[in-house]
Subunit: 308 residues, 2 copies
């Protein structure tokens, strides 16, 4: 893959081909992860099989795409954002493996395949999640510093977004809220942490790798926050409106687990309206980037209108 | 606590008071961890209760002590090694929480108290481990670079020692070996990774924070490796010779789980001899530090002769 801009390699503006963009960015990220992670032959084989089973299970690679696109929006080269893009995908995959465990959401299917613990057993699934979480810091440590951002700031960014006040906080409160009536404010607290935090961090790390200005970083933060929240509202909606086959994971889980969701509290129509409003706010945040944010804009639009 | 040298504050050489040294270093590390980790009142309270429950359960704080003592052996100030000392303790605690889970070693007691999942449930225990692992990278990112070592190298050091080729590899092979006859070579592979890797990393991070020379770093690596291996051989021995009360955790677990150990393969006498030989090699590695390594030397001696 040459170092040409990812988004300029696809037709501009109205004809922007997001699907081609996502395909290219996924390929790049998957190839890099494949090169940087221990191979299937590396001892102990079982843990590397388990890590790779979930990491290469065909996810949409939204977080890495956000990261690469944010770097380009700031005038940077996507190559500089590659370690961060791989790191956020490792964090995302680890969180799915652990969330799916019987002691948590107890899910049997993910991305259309049996979940990690169903294939490798619970012990190895816990360790595969641990290993991917650890791997993500090995990856982010390999990023390059810029004149504005040290590597330590990028490590801190990733650790904070994934830590007990953000990503893990979201899962904890989600776990504690099952079967209990919660307010929309509390639900938003969960969604902000379980989903927005890492999406926001993905965009910010992309910007940092491109040595973005403080105002660009703020814009990416606003964008990531709103896109992340919209993403989760849509997720809540799809859990009701789609089948398990369409989702690649068990549909109707939220209702079955008596989990509060946007549609369960506000209804489908209002939830859809909120997702649109959040996406509109995300668009607004991109204004300062002008036409350089075409990929980010298309991504937000795609996430709003996706069907799985 | 003033910035005076930890080891000079206690009587020198023959009369070196390791117990006072360990008490002081533990106090410093615990106070720092208490200040840097989210408080018990921080939302979500449950996860911070769980993290702190295991982190402040009265461990011996061997790894942080090694880290601080290594910094002093290299002529540095222990204060510079404090973020790394806290980080390795978080890694150690996370690994204990996850290892104790029913899907792994299924332990009910640790440090004389019910294990994390016994108190908080399995879901929260998995997340508390995840949070401490993540926290350790937040801590190491706050270390200071020196002229020889960037922060990114220290992050990488910690990630590699904790990753799927070291700490996690040890646990994986340990898990897979239960009830199977394994060779002494294979057992050494497990011990090197499950125990030596993090002890070695603790000493190396201490050295790095003191801007140690490459030959000092090599000496600390040799020292940490041999001390770590001796530590685990002694652990195997204590599991047989001590009671649960003495250990603060279930004794005789290895035999009950048909786990291969040094004594089960080589017998008690030979195992004791090996532990002594390993400690002698650790002492030898300290030669270049002369009398600056008094704390490290005493620590190695203490670990060899401990009874719990």
């Amino acid at each position: 893959m040459s170092a040409t801009a990812l988004q300029q390699a696809t037709p501009q503006k109205q004809g922007f081909d997001l699907s081609a963009y996502l395909q290219r960015s996924s390929q790049i990220v998957e190839r890099t992860l494949d090169q940087l992670l221990p191979s299937l032959k590396t001892k102990p084989k079982r843990i590397h099989e388990a890590m790779r089973y979930s990491l290469f299970a065909g996810g949409k690679r939204i977080r890495p795409a956000l990261c690469l696109a944010a770097a380009e929006a700031c005038g940077g080269n996507w190559k500089s954002a590659l370690p961060a893009a791989c790191a956020v995908e490792c964090i995302h995959t680890y969180s799915l493996i652990h969330d799916d465990l019987p002691a948590m959401d107890n899910d049997d299917f993910r991305r259309g395949k049996p979940t990690n613990h169903k294939v490798f057993g619970e012990g190895i699934a816990v360790l595969a999640g641990d290993a991917l979480l650890t791997q993500s810091f090995e990856l982010i440590a390999q990023t390059k510093p810029t004149s504005r951002y040290k590597v330590s700031q990028q490590v801190l960014e990733l650790a904070k977004a994934s830590g007990s006040l953000q990503l893990i906080a979201g899962q904890v409160v989600d776990l504690q809220s099952e079967g209990k009536p919660i307010s929309i404010k509390e639900l938003r607290y969960i969604h902000e942490r379980k989903t927005s935090a890492l999406l926001c961090c993905s965009a910010r790390l992309g910007g940092m790798s491109a040595n973005c200005t403080p105002s660009q970083l703020k814009a990416l933060t606003d964008f990531g926050y709103h896109v992340g929240l919209a993403f989760q509202v849509i997720d809540d909606i799809l859990d009701i409106t789609q089948t398990s086959d369409q989702l690649g994971k068990t549909a109707g889980k939220d209702q079955a687990a008596q989990k509060a969701t946007y549609p369960s509290i506000l209804g489908l129509t209002k939830s859809r309206r909120i997702a649109k409003q959040l996406t509109a706010k995300a668009f607004l945040a991109l204004k300062p980037f002008r036409n350089k944010a075409i990929a980010l804009e298309s991504l937000a639009d795609f996430l709003l209108n996706r069907e799985c």
